[in-house]
């Protein structure tokens, strides 16, 4: 287990709106992304997972505001950088070259009136102005080849490509400047299972070759278990559990993670009746008191509706890799 952090999020909170009308979409989230790992971030819609991603890359559209916290980027062999206090020029250098993002519904993120080549070359023009025209075209070709699209598609328009190919172009574009971190926000949700698998396979392969870290955001936990190294589960703007993928799958501690894991019918093994999670996700404008999951939780007891549980390593378990925020598993008495 590598513990070499590449990105550290400390106590990040994101509000939409200002003053007492603000809705807090992300609450006090701390998360560490290690070098070369795939960190999965799962949760229902409205749990704040995309807001977290936009917050830490400073891409939040107004009225979104980062109201507290720090995001620290550790460049290889360099001084740590606080992303949230970067100057506009510094931010411009940081984006794409260090951290790139593949957006939700990436199938529609390409500009329909420009050729794929124009859009790929545009990135290189903006970030590496010294490059010659031939070198740029060659690099665009190389990028397409890297994601498994034949070079003659360079002059195609987005509508001439299938959904899977457009998604590959987006991934290729994200990797154009060889960033250290790639954030993927539901990159395969719009695709079929077969195509989804092909793209994930490609991503795994590319990650091996270029050694970048991935923050993979999705609502499909079954996908994450197979694909990521560690998983963090979000609910109501907070991270409620964090553990290595296989550990989380075998033995989840938080009742919400447990509920999510039992929301997928299994393709193999015995057929059993499943119930999902009763109730619906919380309304961010009027969050329940205490643990935000307690109105839906089958195991809720007295403290759950009063106090907010803190994310920490549970006392009854060994190893620092696991964290959970639940009163069923009181955390170890320590500084964190």
């Amino acid at each position: 287990m590598k513990t070499d952090p590449v990105l550290e999020i400390k106590g990040l909170s994101v509000d939409y709106g200002l003053g007492n009308q603000a809705v807090r979409a992300v609450r006090d989230v701390s998360l560490t992304l290690n070098r070369g790992e795939v960190l999965g971030l799962a949760g229902e819609s409205g749990s704040g997972k995309s807001t977290l991603a936009y917050g830490l890359t400073r891409l939040l559209p107004p009225p979104g505001v980062v109201s507290a916290g720090k995001v620290i980027y550790y460049p290889p062999g360099g001084e740590p950088v606080d992303v949230l206090s970067l100057t506009p020029a510094g931010l411009r250098e940081f984006r794409w070259a260090e951290t790139s993002i593949v957006f939700q519904g990436a199938m529609n993120s390409l500009n329909p009136v420009y050729k794929v080549s124009t859009q790929l070359i545009d990135v290189l023009e903006a970030h590496q102005p010294g490059m010659s025209r031939q070198a740029r075209t060659a690099r665009a070709r190389e990028l397409l080849k890297m994601v498994g699209i034949s070079e003659d598609r360079l002059d195609a328009y987005p509508h001439q490509l299938s959904g899977g190919m457009r998604q590959r172009v987006m991934i290729g574009m994200a990797l154009a400047l060889e960033p250290k971190i790639v954030i993927m926000d539901e990159p395969t949700t719009a695709l079929d299972v077969v195509m989804q698998r092909q793209i994930l396979r490609q991503l795994v392969d590319l990650r091996k070759r270029f050694d970048f870290s991935v923050l993979f955001i999705t609502h499909d936990l079954s996908l994450l278990v197979e694909f990521s190294d560690r998983i963090a589960i979000m609910y109501g703007g907070r991270i409620v559990e964090q553990a290595p993928a296989s550990v989380l799958y075998r033995d989840s501690l938080h009742p919400y993670s447990d509920g999510l894991l039992h929301s997928f019918p299994a393709l193999r093994g015995p057929r059993r009746d499943l119930v999902g999670i009763p109730g619906s996700p919380p309304d961010l404008r009027s969050m329940p008191s205490g643990c935000s999951f307690h109105p839906r939780c089958p195991k809720a007891f007295d403290p759950c509706s009063v106090d907010v549980p803190v994310l920490g390593t549970p006392a009854d378990l060994q190893g620092p890799a696991r964290k959970v925020a639940c009163w069923l598993h009181p955390i170890r008495n320590s500084a964190d």
């Binding site: 989804q196 795994v204 278990v225 190294d229 619906s280």
Partner: protein, 345 residues
């Protein structure tokens, strides 16, 4: 599992071709291109029985649902409701169409789009009841009909939902209202086109369990269209697999998902995310081979439509269309694949 109940809705040789608009030089040519969206589909919906139709997007599964609901006129083939053939050119809005749609109702994928945002739940349901002549006489009867409908989809007490607008409801509640609206016609067959794929994972099962419950209580025939083969196994009695506009495999759900016969079904089952396959990290993913994409339906491949991607392709597959062969493990399991030609002989 081989209990056969009454057939409610049957389709035979159902075919739908959409014309392609001509552009530029094509305007002068005489050939008319068509998209072969659905070709020669046979399917049977039984009372109290869930049939799943599984396939990728673009495989024609939604077109099948719309053909069965008579929202599209079909190119050829036959649809029979209780053995009675539905007219090919059922004009939408005509009396015969209305009679047909009273018995065959559809639930759409997106409950955010299928409910009118400027009307309340009460309006949506009252309208459906009135159109199908089930609103009763007077306010009292209407109200009890509304309450009963909402009770069936587990939105109780009815009073707290009737005057809500769609935006005040969660996705799961909205889909329940859409289901209640379909039930207002007191249908015999329900065509559910990806009813849960737009919902949050934690509430999908609630809606599926509700549909199963309704099937048992009201003895409905349900067509469940999905791209998620694992949920077909969970929810459906029979599963049919569609690829590029044609049926490729069918049988009871357990057999089709556990012992898939057609190479496409195998690919589909292998591609489904499976947490049990974890190897610590993503190593297992790398070893599999690439598999291409579905074909263009304007010029579909000759022979078996899966042959360009098939790992077991033979010469025969490139020229001749495989008919349905019995696979041999259970009575109802069949596959349209030349690999099973000998099993039949």
């Amino acid at each position: 599992m081989t209990v056969t109940t009454e057939v409610v809705l049957a389709a035979e040789g159902l075919t739908k071709h959409f014309p392609v608009r001509k552009r530029g030089r094509e305007l002068l040519s005489r050939t008319n291109h068509v998209v072969h969206a659905v070709d020669d589909v046979d399917l049977v919906l039984r009372r109290g029985w869930v049939t799943a139709l599984v396939g990728e997007s673009g495989s024609g599964k939604s077109t099948v649902a719309r053909l069965l609901a008579q929202l599209y006129p079909r190119t050829s083939g036959d649809i029979r409701l209780h053995g009675e053939s539905a007219a090919v050119s059922t004009a939408r809005g005509g009396r015969r169409f209305r009679e047909y749609s009273r018995k065959v109702q559809m639930i759409f994928q997106d409950p955010f789009a299928s409910l009118n945002p400027v009307h309340t739940v009460r309006y949506h349901l009252t309208r459906a009841l009135r159109i199908h002549g089930r609103a009763g006489k007077g306010k009292q009867e209407l109200h009890s009909a509304l309450a009963e409908l909402l009770g069936r989809v587990q939105l109780t007490p009815a009073e707290s939902y009737l005057d809500k607008y769609p935006h005040e409801l969660s996705g799961g509640q909205r889909q329940r209202v859409a289901i209640a609206r379909a039930l207002a016609a007191d249908p015999e067959a329900l065509l559910a086109d990806e009813p849960v794929s737009m919902l949050d994972v934690s509430i999908r099962l609630g809606v599926l369990n509700l549909l199963r419950n309704l099937k048992e209580r009201l003895n409905l025939a349900i067509l469940y269209i999905t791209h998620d083969i694992a949920s077909a196994r969970y929810f459906a009695d029979d599963t049919l697999v569609m690829y590029a506009g044609r049926m490729v495999e069918g049988g009871d759900s357990e057999t089709v998902t556990q012992h898939p016969a057609h190479p496409y079904t195998r690919l589909l089952v292998d591609s489904a995310p499976d947490p049990d396959r974890i190897t610590g990290s993503a190593q297992g993913l790398v070893q599999e081979e690439g598999v291409g994409e579905p074909p263009s339906l304007i010029t579909p491949p000759d022979g078996c439509r899966f042959h360009p991607r098939c790992p077991f392709v033979m010469d025969k597959c490139r020229t001749a269309l495989p008919p349905r062969f019995d696979v041999g493990d259970t009575e109802t399991h069949w596959a349209a694949c030349w690999l099973f030609e000998e099993a039949k002989a």
